[in-house]
């Protein structure tokens, strides 16, 4: 409620101000000979103001909002142009725009993320990556483009492995380990990437129902993005027009996120067709884009991308490949605009059997098809209705195969509670598990946008409703029970059974939001802009939007920008965001515990006897709900000097409460032991056993239930400075500094890695437990981009230096023998022991050193990395780029660590060739 009152206060405050505007006019000219360009579309970014040039290349835009604005000009056959201008409060401004066939021929080309631009309709802190910056980035996927924002480490271009992106977080050491308790706790990276929303062409991409996981035991493994953010490999960089990264507080329009949002616009509309090929030692990529107008009302465009990366050439035949196809259609007629998109893709990661390790192989393949429709109906000149509907269907197939070795292991495939005679598994066998998931995602949003002039002349009001339904229709988690994938019993997660995904209930949510953005003049040249909104997210407990509500989250958000003068802007923002739990957490399924009553292993298989009692535990946590992030940030932006240098600095603090972790709940099962009645050696039949049991003991287990028990806090600062072109060397410099400190706390208990010994052998009456440790990490990155340009030669050279000035990881939690918090009994009870009593003689067996905790800070030395790209226009309007990631193949500074062969990814180099296709029309 406090946030609500604050938002209301802001709106009222803004209402006392007045908005102004000016007339912007000028000409659009060809760079060669300054010929006027007719039919160029000129617009003001973030507004609905557009104009088309006449025969003399003239354009005119009325009532352009005062303050810093970005003019955008596009025309068929020419590279899009963006120009920053400062609009006066009133009067007129003349601004000519020069366009060129290739943007590389234009002076002052932008090849870095724009640090002070805004995502469309947003006031929150954002980095905008325009198409020219994308073309200069030599990236295979969206991940490579996101290196242009502060705090993101450089990575080699390619499709080598799963690519997930988490805003404003740094790696920290992970908890637990191996198959022991706590192994399933999430890492800071997975929480951050899970909470970073990727929005493709106005429609979110969801990873909530990705169940391609082998669970916490992970005795087999394959490549998967389950549990984190989406795999960015599905988004080819070559088909992306623009990326907006809302690093700060997104408006209330955005739901299902805790970190921030990445808005991706793919290339569509009337595009001069072109093909791109990329070749390096590991990756081959080809893509084609093109679009054309069909009459006055329709445009149709298409993109196609094919790529393959050999992951370890010479060493293995492992490879990743991708195909991506998009078809876009736009209809603009009267007051109606309809955008229709078809997206299809496949990501395949194939790790075939190696000669050195026969019997080991794995594969992961994601195929998807998405259809989306975005409709816009103009309701007069100051309001419009926008409807977005999308349906995505994925087909995810993964398998892993490995040789397993086990001793005589009794097992059963019973699916209900009870006792039955089992069988024995033993020796070496080839285990295989298949995971077949078919995630489905239905998304609808209806939004009213108006410019009501309630509070100011420049005002945008949005109200909308968002309906989501996500489910998984796949056959599920499949394996032959006679050759199970998981054989090491640890008492925590029991044994697995095949599971159908299509029986899991769907995730159904409703989102309601209102958002208001106003801008008013302050004093003679100042401007105050404010955006405030409120969002309500509802998680339903049934299969439809009419079902009851399982959890809800109210999320107020605001951003304020005060510009005492156009060249200086103070910014502050705050608010609450919420993220859905993953389907795997909402419905974790049943866990099977097979308690051995009789274990009689004779030489003759026919004479063996195993009797097991199956107990089933439902790990579902009915109270599991949204994780909530409280975010706040403040900073300033300044235009320095008459040549347009820009500086931006902000500090932020994010705190995600209720991140989904694992809560280990102890319990105990009664295990009965039956006596063998007779000896059947030599008879060819198993012996009989005697009921009732001759003995029984308690068998402690931990039920790992998903719980909102994790807190991820990140705080830090971001500094961005863009120095304009130094004329005599035609060089610009962009500096991005980022310090981020992450802290992960889990309200859970931890055990030593010998926990299964305690369970199975019964030799110990109790074992100590520890309370969850706090795991931290921080990193100070300074990324400097030097961009040299030779417009005469159509040459752009960009070098990126990334300095890691500080990188540490440390855990906080006592490790001495008195640090245990209590003990677990065989009856499944957690008994706390006060700290003052832990040295008492009766607790001597509990005084064990804690394991799995990184007590000493791991500190990496200062180091740097350099990457290079050189781009050149070609005679026929094409373009050639040379790129070299880790240009000098630096290994990295080892400091005192001597066990790692390399710290930096190896050098990667190649060429990109883009050529227009002149036969399209």
């Amino acid at each position: 409620m406090r946030q609500l009152r604050l938002a209301a206060l802001l709106l009222v405050t803004a209402s006392s101000l007045q908005a102004q505007g000016a007339t912007l006019s000028g000409r659009v000219l060809d760079i060669n000979g300054s010929a006027p360009l007719v039919q160029a579309l000129v617009s003001i970014e973030g507004t609905i103001l557009t104009a088309t040039t006449d025969a003399q290349g003239r354009y005119r835009l009325e009532t352009v909002p005062a303050g810093p604005q970005v003019i955008r000009a596009i025309r068929i056959g020419y590279a899009p142009v963006r120009r920053s201008v400062t609009i006066p409060p009133s009067g007129s401004l003349v601004q000519d725009i020069v366009m060129a066939k290739s943007a590389l021929s234009l002076p002052g080309i932008t090849v870095t993320a724009d640090p002070v631009s805004r995502a469309k309709g947003e006031l929150g802190t954002a980095s905008v990556i325009e198409h020219e910056a994308i073309r200069n980035q030599s990236a295979a996927s969206l991940q490579g483009l996101l290196e242009l924002i502060p705090g993101v480490p450089l990575q080699p271009p390619g499709l080598d492995g799963v690519q997930q992106f988490g805003l404003r977080s740094v790696p920290i050491s992970v908890g637990g380990g191996g198959n022991g308790p706590g192994a399933a706790q999430p890492s800071a990276g997975s929480l951050a990437s899970f909470g970073t929303q990727i929005i493709l062409d106005g429609v979110p991409i969801s990873n909530n129902t990705n169940l391609q996981s082998l669970g916490p035991r992970g005795e087999l493994s394959f490549s998967t993005s389950a549990g984190g953010g989406i795999d960015l490999r599905r988004l080819p960089a070559s088909t992306i027009e623009r990326v907006e990264v809302i690093r700060g507080i997104p408006s209330a329009r955005f739901g299902d996120l805790t970190q921030g949002a990445v808005l991706v616009e793919t290339r569509a509309g009337s595009i001069d067709p072109e093909v791109l090929t990329r070749l390096d030692a590991r990756t081959v990529e080809a893509s084609a884009v093109g679009g054309t107008a069909l009459g006055h009302s329709n445009t149709v465009s298409s993109t196609l991308d094919l790529a393959r990366t050999r992951i370890a050439p010479g060493q293995t035949d492992d490879e990743s490949s991708r195909y991506s196809l998009q078809i876009a259609h736009r209809l603009e007629k009267g007051r109606v605009r309809l955008d229709t998109r078809f997206d299809g893709f496949q990501i395949l990661e194939d790790l075939p059997e190696r000669p050195l390790f026969p019997g080991f192989e794995s594969m992961s393949r994601d195929r998807g098809l998405r259809v989306s429709e975005r409709g816009r109906l103009d309701l007069g000149t100051k309001a419009r209705l926008e409807l977005t509907s999308a349906f995505e269907s994925l087909r995810q197939r993964s398998f892993a195969r490995e040789n397993k070795l086990t001793g005589a292991l009794p097992f059963t495939n019973r699916l209900t509670e009870g006792r039955q005679v089992g069988e024995f598994l033993g020796g070496i066998y080839n285990a295989r598990v298949d995971v077949k998931g078919d995630p489905r995602f239905l998304y609808n949003r209806l939004e009213l946008v108006s410019e009501p002039h309630w509070l100011a002349r420049e005002e945008t009001f949005r109200a909308g409703v968002e309906l989501r339904r996500e489910w998984n229709a796949g056959p599920g988690y499949l394996f032959d029970i006679a050759s199970p994938a998981q054989i090491s019993f640890n008492g925590v997660n029991g044994f697995d059974r095949p599971r159908r995904f299509d029986l899991i209930p769907p995730i159904v949510t409703t989102g309601l939001y209102v958002d208001e953005r106003v801008s008013r003049r302050v004093g003679s040249e100042g401007t105050l802009s404010a955006q405030a909104g409120l969002r309500l997210d509802l998680l339903h407990d049934g299969r439809s939007w009419l079902s009851g509500v399982r959890d809800q989250s109210v999320q107020p958000r605001f951003n304020i920008e005060l510009a005492p003068k156009p060249s200086f802007r103070l910014r502050v923002g705050g608010g609450r965001l919420a993220k859905l739990p993953a389907l795997a957490s909402l419905y974790p399924g049943q866990q099977y515990y097979d308690l051995i009553n009789v274990n009689y292993f004779a030489n003759n298989p026919a004479e063996r006897l195993a009797v097991l009692t199956t107990r089933i535990v439902d790990k579902t946590n009915p109270n599991l709900g949204y994780s909530v992030a409280d975010k706040v940030e403040a900073g300033f932006e300044a235009d320095v000097g008459h040549r347009g240098a820009q500086v931006s600095f902000l500090v932020f603090r994010d705190r995600i409460k209720g991140g989904v972790g694992i809560q280990s709940t102890p319990t105990s099962f009664l295990r009965e032991h039956f006596r063998i009645v007779d000896s059947t050696i030599g008879t060819g039949r198993p012996p009989d056993y005697e009921i009732p049991a001759f003995a029984a003991d308690s068998f402690p287990v931990l039920i790992d239930r998903p719980d909102n028990n994790t807190i991820l806090s990140s705080s830090g600062a971001e500094l961005i400075a863009v120095i304009p072109e130094i004329p005599w060397i035609r060089t610009r410099i962009a500096v991005q500094g980022s310090y981020i400190k992450s802290r992960l706390e889990t309200n859970a208990v931890e055990f030593r890695s010998n926990f299964s010994e305690f369970q199975v052998t019964g030799d110990f009456p109790r074992v100590p437990y520890w309370e969850g440790a706090t795991r931290t990490g921080d990193r100070l990155l300074l990324t400097t981009r030097v961009i040299h340009q030779q417009p005469q030669a159509g040459l752009v050279v960009s070098g990126t230096f990334q300095f890691t000035l500080r990188e540490t990881r440390q855990n906080f939690g006592a490790t001495d023998t008195l640090s245990f918090a209590g003990y677990l009994t065989r009856a499944g009870e957690l008994i706390p022991v006060p700290a003052v009593q832990r040295g008492a003689p009766q607790y001597a067996d509990l005084r064990l050193p804690r394991s799995g905790l990184l007590s000493d800070a791991q500190k990496g030395p200062v180091d740097w990395l350099f990457s290079l790209q050189v781009a050149k226009t070609l005679p026929a309007g094409g373009r050639l780029s040379f790129y070299a990631f880790n240009t000098l193949d630096r290994i990295g500074n080892f400091g005192t660590r001597t066990v790692t062969a390399r710290l930096f990814a190896p050098m990667r180099f190649g060429l990109e060739l883009t050529m227009p296709v002149v036969v399209w029309r």
């Binding site: 390096d280 030692a281 193949d889």
Partner: protein, 538 residues
Amino acid sequence: MALRLASIVLLLLGCAASSAAAQSLGLDPEHDTPIWMRTWSALGTSADLPRRLEGVGTATSGLMFGPPRIGTFWTAGNPAGLVEGARDTRSDFSGTWSRQSGNYHRPLEPNGTTLAQGAAQAWKGFSPTFAMLGRVTFDRERLEPGSRAVTTEPFGSSPFVTTDTSGSGVRRTRATLEGAAGWRLGKWGVGLTLGYEAREHSSTTSGIVRKIRLATPGGVFGIARRLGGIELAIHARYRHRTEETDVAEKYENGRVYELVGYGEALGIDILGATGDYIRHRAENASAAGGSVAGAFGPTRWTLLAEATRLRETLWRQEVNDPPRDRWDANGWRARAAIQRSLTPRWLLTMHANAASLSGTGDLALDTAGIIFTAHESAFATEMELRLLPLDQGWTGSLTVGWTHESRKRQDLMVHLGSSISANTPSVGFDIGRTIGSRLLVSMGAALAPYGPTSTIPDPAAAGPVYRYYVAPELDLYASRATPTAFSFLIQYRGGKNAVLWLTGRGERLSSSESVPLSAFTPGGNRSAASFAGGITLR
């Protein structure tokens, strides 16, 4: 049009002859690249005289690239002279395919290699005071199984060479990017050349995995000053090179030998349990010198002298400041070029190159001090008489040359040394005719009998590693041989400024000795063929 002609680095097609050589082993397509096209590169070595298989080039490429150019830029490699050297505009794009095979080769190279390359090269004088030049190449080379080298360049003057027993096939990927810019400020000229080369080698068919990466940045900075009719210039060049070698078991055990001179290297077993064999090599090559260029009437000339230096270190441990093997070499290089028009159509050009170095090797983990020395020198001169082409009629050239090489290498640990000096006269011709006004057809041939005088260790007294990895190469250089080459060129002028061309060349090398020097002397012959096609825009 201006932009098109201004291209500095261009399409993924390339200038065939100019750069296919740098990576290819054995018979060298670079033999057909004019000297003046190579000297400006910032990626060239200093204080190093790599050993190449004997070869010879024809002059066919001269018809493609025009008359030889001399001057501060083209002869001395000083970018301060680029404005004078590249007043015109030219862009070349082409693709090359080449293949060489045969038993007559060194043990560190395979029987056969196949190379495909795309490259582009262009220069332009943008104004009377500013010019730029650029070159980009990308190539893939497939080495058949048999190569024992586990390093990118196993034939340098340094005695430190890594080999293994796998002989796996290798796929090599290489990209180079080079550019030069020159400014003229009154009587002063200043220029900068930058270059970068990256390579990645990975094994293709073997139970032993080889992975090698090489990164080489380099730069040349020069200043020139006109004094009357001559131009004085000074320059400094620097090249850094870092190489990482990784050998690992795939499904076979293997062994790595770190060769050091003529001693019997101990093997290092490659087993999965012991992890990868990883070795790093870092090289810093630098040079500084001066040149003078001028003209005596119709005769233009350029002289260059520079001091060269190479520091190479090798190490294995993955720690900071590990102990390193070292190879230090110091030397000098001199070059002269003279050009004179005898008549409006006859042009005489003479080039002379000399280089010398002395190097010492030191092992990190012994106390013996210097364990290897080398004193190597080379002198090469070439004279070309060219009949310049007209719109119709005959054109051609006659080239005679002479090369002298001397290599004295001494292993102080085992007290074995080698001394090989060789004289190689060469002669080649090229003749072409313009048919109609658009088509030019030419062919050329050349031969260069190689005559060595040598003292080399007796392989019979050496160990098996020496006999396998070292002796055959020394025997090859101690044997007389006669490389011969043949080439053709077809050019078609497609428009006012565009020329399409297709060229091919064949080369063959075999020993001229009637009796092999020893049981380890390579036999048979080696032949190479290459075809290139492209377009030149002016």
